[in-house]
């Protein structure tokens, strides 16, 4: 099975940005950012692109496809 991990939390803290601020900038709720950082929610391509824009990092760096056994 394949899953998607991400480094949103690391990039966000590097930019000294709160979960609420990121949520506001990408147009979702704070709970969605919490869930996304925990890896329990896989975002849509559109949301992933918005996060990529806000965090100024290419999408393929932020989201990594991994195989889980």
């Amino acid at each position: 099975m394949e899953t998607l991990t991400n480094i949103v939390k690391e990039l966000r803290t590097q930019k000294d940005m709160s979960q609420g601020k990121l949520a506001e900038l990408v147009g979702v709720t704070r709970q969605t950012i919490i869930s996304l950082e925990k890896g329990s929610y896989v975002p849509s391509l559109l949301l992933a692109m918005r996060i990529s824009e806000v965090l100024e990092t290419p999408i393929e760096i932020i989201f990594i496809k991994e195989s889980v056994e």
């Binding site: 147009g27 979702v28 709720t29 709970q31 969605t32 869930s35 329990s40 975002p43 559109l46």
Partner: protein, 147 residues
């Protein structure tokens, strides 16, 4: 999450009051030559009061006409869809069981000669089903939201 819990609780209370109002609208009913005579129980009045108060409270508290099916972003949209799927399954499965149960009540009533009201049994079962479906929706919504 609080909003969904409050809205679902409001719906459960509404369905319960509806059930009670339809099950026990009158007390001491006497059959007359033309029609019947009886006194109205408290349940229809409670239902009417609730139907007046609930929209006002809902509007002032929620500041919008949002229902429990409303969503704020793409993740909540998925949560609503998953919860609706569960509530739908509960409703359809429950309706099939309810039809069988009403048939069973009628058969039991006929075969034992006991005076069991099919009307009251049906309303009770449907009320319970609506309440269970709403609670299932709310439980699934909260479970998914907390993930």
């Amino acid at each position: 999450m609080k909003k969904t819990i409050i809205q679902c609780s409001g719906n459960v209370l509404l369905f319960t009051l509806m059930g009670l109002a339809f099950m026990f609208p009158f007390s001491e009913v006497t059959q007359m030559e033309m029609g019947f005579q009886g006194s109205v129980t408290i349940f229809p009045f409670l239902l009417i009061a609730y139907l007046i108060v609930y929209p006002i409270v809902h509007y002032h508290w929620g500041k919008s006409a949002d229902s429990e099916l409303a969503y704020s972003d793409e993740r909540e949209k998925i949560i609503v869809s998953e919860s609706t799927k569960i509530a739908y399954k509960v409703l359809i499965g429950g309706l099939i069981i309810t039809i069988a149960a009403i048939g069973g009540v009628k058969f039991f009533s006929l075969s034992t000669g006991m005076d069991i009201s099919t009307y009251v049994s049906s309303i009770a079962l449907l009320t319970a089903l609506l309440d269970i479906a709403t609670i299932s929706y709310c439980a699934k919504w909260c479970w998914e939201y907390k993930k």
